[in-house]
Symmetry: D2
């Protein structure tokens, strides 16, 4: 299938490469020339603008962009996707952005006869390279079914979350809970150890009790409890604290617009902001445990 | 075996009954006469005081009391266990109290040639009746091995957590994390639904993603998501909000003594205090989701 | 002087009336016809759109609008002020909005040869009617001096806060602190009374000690401590909790954009959101003390 | 008058010295011999124990001790004040402790025919030396009147707060509010400056607006805003962050016992714990602004 792909950063580049490997033809664009050249060397065709990608007879067009303003600009601005796309093209935005922007853009796309899905991912650059991402998808069921086999080349868990914007809602709700759980595990482990229990013993008890969670049994932030997690390698790699800060910003923004209290979510956002300002934003997000160091 | 049992409330009474069923002889005491009579009718022998229980040739003596001051009084006060116990008796306190008191009492017991374990439980009155409690046990490994077969008549998960007091540490660390996770799930589910996603769909996504936790996949607080949880029956039964408030009080007290920050733990304690003062303390603790109701 | 005035709501209408009383000629606009008719009956001339107001040879043009999107639309949209204004007109926006929007609009105004001040107010409808508002003004010193005598007809405290946007910055920083102080007083008074001290005695001590603040000595939220404050009349009138919630939303948004932690500010925003969702948003903001009611 | 004085630390020593200067006879005790010798050199008589002080025909006995357990021990333990005091002696405890202990000790004193006042102070070592402390006094009005002229030799503001324990209640309520206000000012000033306003300008606006408080107008934490405050000398001297942490511990403990929510109070306690653990506990408490440093 001929597919457009816009946004070739740390996540987008390996995703695009997986589509090439699966035999798809790609027409690509990025403002960073170097990123375009690398993927062109692997067989993709470069286009001069988002609208040029959209106008090049692609059946499907995937975008992977850093934030809401980028998505607005690439879909709705000058030389944008909507300026070039032909009716019938399926648009799939994999960026993590706020649900309101996702719905606005999908609304404008529909007004031009175009279908659109929001499909943010989880799994990080590791998942992007291995083709094991999770896609949380919002939009029409028929469009979801059309997209699924293509998304399956880049991920292994493709979930339909309901109408337009719901992919973003699912991602931000999950990630807000993840941040809260991670800080909760950091506090509980630090407290337990300060009170005299061995970290591995405590983790073992929590993991078979009602405190069990992904942050305790799969990604424990306490050094030495698990192998092969960022805590065992000085918090290098993984999902950066600044990325979690970004997602918490989206979640608390969305909560504000919805008039919904998120007491622990807002506190988690503050903790990550403080941690980032202390110079640790590039560490894995489980490094937040450093805020809870003993006296 | 001849076993002493002091404290025959909602938890203690069914625990004692399970020991009787297993063929043990029981010598019992409680300040509530009625509670003593009921268990005496089932075959236990009543004693006149904690020291009388301790003095009646029991090999093991189990206590299940409401709070730290009760434990101090029953073990260390007038007519107390330590006043009556003979060297060699194994003392097992199943109360949920602060680790410092647990260690103080164990220290005083040791000074009198007595071994002591702290063994707080989780599982609620349902677990106490069914004999499926979890015991988190602190104390000497040899004493743990001696106690294990007896505890196994009242529970199915018997975990050694290390030295004296560590049973309490494990319980309060786990329960603090549980409270944080529960509020996190309450916030994430409420936010997601306010933003337009279906509650069951969102729970399904969280439960297969990094937000997964016991509070989302086993005890979800959002009404209608799961059957057979308190959320499906107006939050009646289960683990009361006031009990969670008590455990959060112990956890934040212990954190203060240890000089350990617990930012979300303290916020959770405040939310449960507020919720209790609004008149909901007897509801299951997952009812905390009511604080996050939409506008 | 001939002055334009756009936005004739609860705040704008009495402000406009004070300008008329001072002998100024007014050209006015509001989307609510009824509001326009009332002020026209008092001597103002109605115009058909913001651009029509701007085009009618006014020397100065004042706006008082509910939120950032309204300001963008009235200044930058179709039939907007910038579409009609002649070079040399001094634009003064008295709305409370985020500093970034204030700066964006001032930037666009400057590009068209127009001077602009942001001049949000405090003092409520009472201050608007009595002409005793405080104006916090951002923009060029020369423009500030030009505006001052006109603003002085509507307020008694006219403060220059620096460059464009700084009026908004001052207001949101002050009001965030106000919300924190008010909740702090609510907690301290409620705690003291619960522990057995008389409310008036406690307020007296705080007001001569280091806890002293406007929320304790001028606007005490505890019923019966002061006369003539909302707490003495069931929290009717004053500055509504929903307005405080709006300002806290602006403050936490601005903090997020600036990458600045505001731990208590974010917690205060959450408390007001929760309070508003419990149905109390129209009460005075000091009614937040109801969240801290004893058990 | 012949007065007993127990506890000659940083606060107690200058207080005792002021009583000597005023012509009172002092009988003193401290576990630190060196402290006793210094004050003996200034004219006081040393006694061998708290009970010996109490037994030496003093009309009044003042204590200034570090914490609740010390107060219990000195008043109620072996060789304690109550063991030696004669009926009619007026006991005055100036320590900052929890209200429950204050009331317990006063109750035991009364049972022995002794009157007791709790009289915690504010004003720091500077106030102790200058004799300008504030005394917050709980106890009988008659005893308060008896004590007033003596306290007036050590302080200039002597306030009666009601029955026994209320001096402690007033102090902890005030200091909890102080901590909240200080963090609020730290957040508001840091946010405003990050958004582009000058710190002095912002402080000036806040100090004439509704955000005004002692922490902004008398003890501003932002460097360069005021002279002669700890912020202008690298936060050396003043009221240590660890002392504020202690008072917040007492306030949140008392809130827990009273079943009273203190959401911002608990958050403030956590911030000071975190700040202390980062190694800053000996700085003035206004140094908490360092937690809010820009990115």
């Amino acid at each position: 299938m001929k597919i457009g792909f816009i946004g070739l950063g740390h996540m987008g580049a390996p995703m695009a490469r997986n589509l090439l490997k699966a035999g798809h033809q790609l027409v690509v664009y990025d403002i960073v020339k170097d990123a375009v050249e690398k993927i062109a060397a692997a067989g993709a065709v470069a286009a001069a603008s988002p609208s040029a990608v959209a106008a090049s007879s692609v059946e499907m067009l995937i975008t992977m962009l850093p934030s809401s303003p980028h998505v607005r600009s690439v879909y709705l601005g000058q030389h944008s996707i909507l300026a070039g796309a032909k009716p019938g093209t399926l648009l799939i935005d994999c960026s993590t952005i706020d649900p309101h922007t996702a719905r606005d853009v999908a609304f404008d796309a529909k007004a031009k006869g175009l279908s659109m899905l929001d499909a943010p991912v989880s799994g990080g650059t590791g998942g992007a390279e291995a083709g094991t991402l999770t896609f949380m998808v919002g939009g029409e069921p028929r469009d979801f079914e059309t997209a699924r086999p293509v998304l399956a080349r880049m991920g292994k868990n493709i979930v339909h979350c309901g109408a337009a914007g719901n992919g973003q809602v699912a991602k931000l709700a999950n990630n807000m809970l993840l941040a809260i759980s991670m800080i909760g595990v950091a506090e509980a482990m630090s407290l337990g150890v300060a009170l005299g229990i061995d970290a591995k013993v405590l983790a073992g008890i929590i993991n078979t009790s009602s405190g069990r969670c992904w942050s305790s049994d799969t990604y424990n932030p306490y050094p030495g409890v698990m192998d092969n997690v960022p805590a065992s390698r000085d918090y290098i790699g993984g999902f950066g604290a600044n990325l979690m800060l970004k997602d918490l910003g989206l979640a608390t923004d969305a909560a504000k617009l919805a008039g919904q209290p998120v007491v622990l979510g807002a506190a988690a956002q503050q903790m990550y902001q403080m941690f980032s300002n202390q110079g640790h934003g590039n560490m894995d997000f489980s490094a937040i445990i450093k805020l809870f160091k003993p006296k």
